[in-house]
């Protein structure tokens, strides 16, 4: 089982994830339509790129957009959660070792303490985000089991990874489960709402181009104050 997961299944899940991202990204761009969307994407590339960059930038910087500043609790949970889910899988030293093993090179590794801190912050934020879904009527009304499913899928590798890291019970059991959860997540990326990993950038860029090209971005000042 373990050998299968770290062997063929490892490559398969990465391939499904990456190919899925590429296919869906190309599909997204091909599905944009200047006349239906009412954005002259091609006619004003400079304004479009500037608008797209601003739209992404202000929303990935913590408290960069007015929307984040208006909701500090949500913003804190959001960034605590996403900092961990992006940095830990990529730069955990154990993962970098896997990378060196599989690809022959590695990037930098997070110090152990920092990786632990980020992981716990992610888990804490996930719990708070789930509680927020239950507590706030404006979030509860839209919440479906899928929303909890996506959250569970995201934190499963953290729960199992931490269990392995602290040697809770059988280490190899948790490690196997951790790899399984991680690979399930990779496979889910193109097919579920986990697609927001890349569609977030696509969607933000699109709205940024809309504002940059059509809705005032070329009116001679900095453009929309996000």
């Amino acid at each position: 089982m373990y050998q299968f997961l770290v062997g063929p299944m490892f490559w398969l899940s990465i391939a499904i994830c990456l190919i899925g991202i590429i296919v869906r990204s190309v599909g997204y761009v091909r599905g944009l339509h200047w006349q239906l969307d009412r954005v002259a994407y091609r006619a004003h590339p400079r304004a479009g790129i500037k608008g797209a960059a601003r739209s992404i930038f202000f929303w990935i910087v913590p408290f960069g957009a007015r929307g984040w500043r208006a909701q500090p609790f949500m913003a804190t949970c959001f960034f605590a959660f996403h900092l961990g889910v992006v940095l830990v899988p990529l730069f955990l030293s154990a993962h970098q070792m896997v990378m060196r093993d599989k690809l022959g090179f590695s990037l930098f590794s997070l110090p152990g303490g920092l990786a632990d801190g980020l992981s716990w912050a992610t888990l804490t934020a996930a719990v708070l985000l789930a509680l927020r879904r239950i507590a706030l009527p404006e979030v509860r009304i839209m919440t479906t089991w899928r929303d909890y499913g996506i959250l569970a899928l995201s934190v499963a590798p953290f729960v199992t990874g931490l269990a392995a890291r602290y040697h809770v019970g059988d280490y190899s059991f948790w490690l196997t489960l951790h790899i399984l959860c991680g690979e399930a997540l990779l496979i889910a990326v193109p097919f579920t709402r986990m697609s927001h990993i890349f569609l977030f950038f696509m969607s933000r860029a699109q709205l940024g181009m809309d504002y940059g090209i059509k809705r005032g971005g070329m009116k001679g000042h900095h453009g929309l104050a996000w």
Partner: protein
């Protein structure tokens, strides 16, 4: 598939049909027939497959149901934070469901969607600025309105409005002759005070082509006079067109894209015929949005621009004051607490926030201008945008919607609200009538006329 004589899937094509619909007072029969109107699910699904592309599909897919858009929506806030007023919920439970069910929805569903699209969203686009994913629910509601309109599920007044554009190429039954005659009549009324005041009609290669809102012709002809006088005082080489002068588009509010195209192409034809250096539109938000911002796309113009560079009245006015074409008598500047209403349609949706502030710096005595909070691109809708003002069926909801603006204005302590937009102007007038907070409201033109310095050579000889 039952369709009513008045309420059906066919748009108005003739003056007779339009009059028949108008004669149905308050849409009594129309709304009765609406209850029996069938949904053509095949057509609905076929349209979605053809027109619902990756942008909207992605928006519907990746919405995280996080509710961050809730507080951005003034209709959510002003309706006691009713969770069914959360923008994401509103669009997911209407357009989202239609897509999910592949168009298999019934009459009751479509009526619910109609109320949501026209009484729970003004397409102000504010929510799009507060969504981490950049999901603009206002755009999706515009799209939903188009789907509903094509199925005949549209408020009575907006079916009429779209029909007006189809029949008269204007939002009201104002003909080309009415327009030119009214403008010239107004000039005659004022020519004793402003000798040499004339209304150039169909002048080719002018610096400015001025376009209006048909309401001005029908109900507020003095607005035309004021525009003419200010161009005259500024020494502009300007003109009106005898055809293609209507800048507004109730068809846009209705979601009648075919009529939208007819209307803007009519204006663009005037631009192509007269070749003005620039088009200046009147103090109207949605008219600017329709003709300048969205119009080029309806007309299939790949660069997204109208045939002539086109600006809003506030841009022209800011420039005229900056360049000294119009000079203000400092003694006559506004000396009462005053605030400005930022119209969604050209502030949030066309970035003109600085132009209005520049005008304020010229016409208001320092210390008397108070910003609303929030303001500029983050300002709230007046409460009557997107057609909401004009729909009798939803008057109660509209009046509740006005509370946001009422409270914003009250918080400034202003006695005067400058509203360079017909829809906002109407909404603020209505909120004063409804809630009596003791404010005055005004377009820019009448204010300017009271304080502008008339150059000696343009003064009447005594």
């Amino acid at each position: 598939m039952p369709e009513g004589t008045l309420c059906n899937k066919s748009p108005i094509q003739t003056e007779a049909q339009l009059k028949e619909l108008l004669n149905d007072t308050s849409g009594k029969l129309y709304y009765q027939e609406l209850n029996a109107l069938d949904v053509d699910s095949d057509k609905l699904w076929a349209t979605i497959q053809k027109t619902c592309k990756s942008r909207i599909r992605t928006w519907l897919e990746i919405c995280a149901h996080c509710g961050m858009c809730a507080d951005s929506c003034f209709l959510y806030l002003v309706n006691k934070r009713d969770p069914t007023q959360v923008p994401a919920y509103k669009i997911q439970s209407t357009l989202g469901e239609i897509v999910k069910r592949k168009g298999r929805v019934d009459n009751a569903f479509m009526q619910m969607a109609m109320e949501t699209a026209w009484a729970k969203c003004t397409c102000c686009n504010r929510c799009g600025m507060y969504c981490p994913h950049g999901i603009d629910m206002g755009i999706m509601f515009g799209y939903l309105r188009g789907l509903l309109y094509a199925q005949g599920f549209v408020p009575w007044e907006l079916k009429i409005g779209a029909g007006m554009h189809r029949v008269y190429r204007a939002q009201m039954d104002v003909t080309d002759d009415d327009f030119v005659e009214t403008f010239e009549w107004m000039a005659e009324e004022w020519e004793d005070d402003f000798p040499g005041l004339e209304i150039p009609v169909d002048r080719e290669d002018a610096d400015i082509l001025y376009t209006v809102n048909a309401r001005e012709v029908k109900h507020y002809p003095e607005d035309l006079a004021e525009a003419g006088i200010l161009f005259h005082l500024a020494g502009e080489n300007w003109t009106i067109t005898s055809s293609g002068w209507e800048q507004t588009s109730l068809a846009m509010f209705a979601g009648d894209w075919e009529a939208c195209k007819m209307q803007v192409e009519h204006v663009y034809a005037a631009m192509e015929r007269l070749r003005p250096k620039r088009m200046v539109g009147t103090e109207c938000g949605h008219a600017h949005r329709a003709t300048v911002v969205e119009g080029p796309y309806w007309a299939g113009r790949a660069d997204g621009n109208p045939p002539s560079p086109s600006i809003h009245y506030v841009e022209w006015l800011a420039e005229a004051l900056r360049l000294g074409k119009l000079k203000i008598d400092p003694q006559k500047r506004i000396k009462v607490p005053v605030t400005i209403q930022d119209s969604c349609n050209y502030i949030r949706n066309h970035g003109l926030k600085l132009a209005t502030r520049e005008i304020i710096s010229h016409i208001v005595e320092p210390g008397y201008f108070i910003e609303m909070s929030p303001n500029r691109e983050h300002n709230y809708c007046c409460g009557g945008g997107g057609g909401f003002n004009g729909i009798g069926l939803y008057r109660k909801q509209r009046n509740q919607a006005l509370v946001t603006k009422r409270d914003q204005i009250l918080a400034t302590g202003a006695e005067l609200v400058i509203a360079p937009c017909h829809n906002c102007w109407d909404a603020i007038r209505d909120l004063e009538e409804e809630y009596k907070i003791g404010i005055k409201w005004s377009f820019l033109k009448p204010l300017l006329l009271k304080m502008v310095i008339v150059p000696d050579h343009l003064k009447p000889r005594t």
